[in-house]
């Protein structure tokens, strides 16, 4: 059955998929990134309004390119006319030909999605700017949708995107694939932005947070697109696997009231087996190609968790070993922190706590709520209830996440109630 809302959803998906391809063509033709991006966004909005009623055109891509190009030429003609009035410039023949005669129905010679991603995730941008710009220019989301997801006014988000575009324009970042020498570093920026988008969305699964959940789906969709273009890159596969293996647990991660459920207590029958199978296949293939990287290793760790029937049956020695390798290629202190939990599962709580003592000297961790939360957990494991209560509360006071604060406070309350009983 085809309902009006399924037509709407189909059009929305089509538009999001076409957005970067259309922008690529318009950019190639007109050059000006900020104006091209605006024109494409307007064409997408026009399509979203017209297509559900009038039907999807035979070549949606050509339709969008045509509308966006017309906006660009209108705008440029307006500017030229103004300059002519101002300076009596001799009118020249319009340099751009009619887009309808351009064979746009032919498949794209090369996909511009990657070049666009490299541009939008340029390290010169702050991560919040890169995220907003990527979601709009590459993801095809509207400013309204992005503003909802990040819970900021639309005008603020629009301004953030506009500034990001201007700074790309003024810094002269070219619209093409980065040179070979800097490609892996630039790809790392792209993957990092996609990872941040995923993380922003990986929160509770209902109510007012639904908009945010969509960010995770968007991150997965974009990472899939990158994977199609770079099928042999192990880290792209690793990131996609990590997202799938993490997202697979979403249905079990919180209860109906939005309360967080830790991995050990999740109902594993709710996990998305299909996503887990895909994630495991991806990371296994990547690692067996001899490639190694932080996303692949994190995905491998997630895979070990996802394969286990219960927390107890998890292959913890394998997880400790994977963290060892991960620790050697990144200096992220969270790696050592997470490893301490796995060490405790293998060698007992005392061994885990000893790891934490060594980590407390790291300035990046000392004030972080996660150090207190892990310590609380390990103290509870070791039977030190009052110590655990104090650390749960310390962690609850420091976190900036409401579900996490509720979870940590509840753990402290649970231990106090056990003491009273």
């Amino acid at each position: 059955m085809t309902t009006a809302s399924s037509v709407q959803a189909g059009i929305e998906h089509l538009l999001r998929d076409l957005a970067p391809q259309v922008l690529g063509v318009v950019m190639r033709r007109f050059g000006d990134f900020p104006a091209s991006e605006d024109a494409v966004q307007e064409a997408l909005l026009a399509a979203a309004l017209q297509w559900p009623g009038e039907g999807v055109p035979e070549s949606p891509r050509a339709w969008l390119i045509h509308v966006a190009s017309r906006r660009m030429t209108d705008q440029l003609r307006g500017e030229i006319a103004r300059r002519e009035r101002e300076a009596f410039v001799v009118r020249q023949e319009w340099p751009f030909h009619d887009p309808s005669s351009d064979g746009f129905d032919a498949p794209p010679e090369h996909d511009d999605t990657l070049a666009l991603l490299f541009m939008c995730c340029h390290p010169a941008l702050t991560s919040s700017s890169a995220i907003a710009l990527t979601l709009r220019a590459v993801g095809g989301l509207t400013t309204t949708e992005i503003a909802h997801a990040f819970m900021v006014p639309e005008a603020t988000l629009a301004q953030r995107i506009s500034r990001a575009k201007q700074s790309i324009k003024s810094s002269g970042v070219p619209f093409r694939m980065p040179e070979e020498v800097e490609r892996s570093e630039r790809l790392a920026s792209v993957l990092h932005v996609l990872y941040l988008i995923f993380n922003e969305g990986y929160t509770t699964s209902g109510g007012p947070d639904l908009h945010r959940a969509e960010l995770s789906n968007e991150a997965i969709r974009l990472t899939r697109a990158v994977r199609v273009l770079l099928p042999r890159d192990g880290e792209v596969a690793g990131l996609l696997a990590l997202m799938l293996l993490t997202d697979a647990r979403r249905p079990a991660r919180a209860n109906a009231d939005g309360e967080l459920i830790p991995l050990a207590k999740q109902d594993r029958s709710l996990w998305n087996r299909e996503a887990i199978a895909e994630g495991i296949a991806l990371v296994t293939a990547a690692l067996s190609n001899g490639s190694i990287g932080a996303y692949q290793l994190q995905a491998a760790i997630a895979a070990v968790h996802d394969e286990a029937a219960s927390a107890e049956e998890t292959d913890w020695p394998q997880i400790v070993a994977l963290y060892d390798v991960l620790g050697r290629i990144t200096d992220n202190p969270m790696v050592a922190l997470n490893q301490a939990i796995a060490v405790a599962m293998v060698h007992g709580a005392e061994a885990g706590l000893a790891r934490l003592d060594a980590l407390a000297a790291d300035e990046r961790l000392a004030a972080h709520h996660r150090l207190d939360a892990v310590r609380a957990h390990l103290l509870e494991m070791s039977g030190d209830r009052s110590g655990a209560i104090a650390r749960y509360l310390a962690a609850a006071a420091k976190t900036a996440s409401i579900p996490e604060k509720n979870y940590l406070s509840t753990q402290a309350a649970r231990l106090r109630a056990d003491d009273d009983a």
Binding site: S129, Q159, L263, A400, S401
Partner: protein
């Protein structure tokens, strides 16, 4: 990261040195400063919300009585400070939130002299939780 910047005005001297006692040009300068600041925040893409609050003379504190009806207390003559207004900003770092707070603190007051009001900076809880 979102932060709430709360502007606490001293209660002491509110009636003798508060904005009601400033010269017109000082009031205008103060208002223009605030308008300009909000415009800058909108332009930088950091603005979420900003509100000024009505004066402390009308401030009431409400508690529920046993039957749930409001029990009204106040205004509070003995309070040392009152919340005059707040901003919610979405910034890339804690340092940036502090920098904005310092800007607000230096808003011009009587005779154009910076007010140097204390600005309380609190993170709005909106971070994604870490998987546990």
């Amino acid at each position: 990261m979102k932060y709430m910047l709360m502007m606490h005005a001293p209660k002491e001297g509110w009636t003798t040195a508060g904005i009601g006692t400033w010269a017109e040009k000082d009031i205008k300068a103060h208002i223009n400063f605030m308008i300009g600041l909000n415009q800058k925040l909108k332009k930088s893409g950091e603005f979420v919300d900003a509100q000024g609050l009505a004066g402390p003379e009308e401030a009431k504190s409400i508690r529920a009585r046993k039957d749930g009806t409001p029990d009204t207390d106040g205004p509070f003559a003995e309070a040392k400070e009152f919340l005059a207004g707040f901003w919610i900003v979405d910034v890339d770092s804690t340092e940036r939130a502090y920098e904005l707070a310092a800007t607000i603190s230096a808003a011009p007051g009587k005779g154009g002299v910076p007010l140097n009001m204390p600005i309380e900076v609190r993170q709005v809880m909106s971070a994604p939780p870490i998987d546990m």
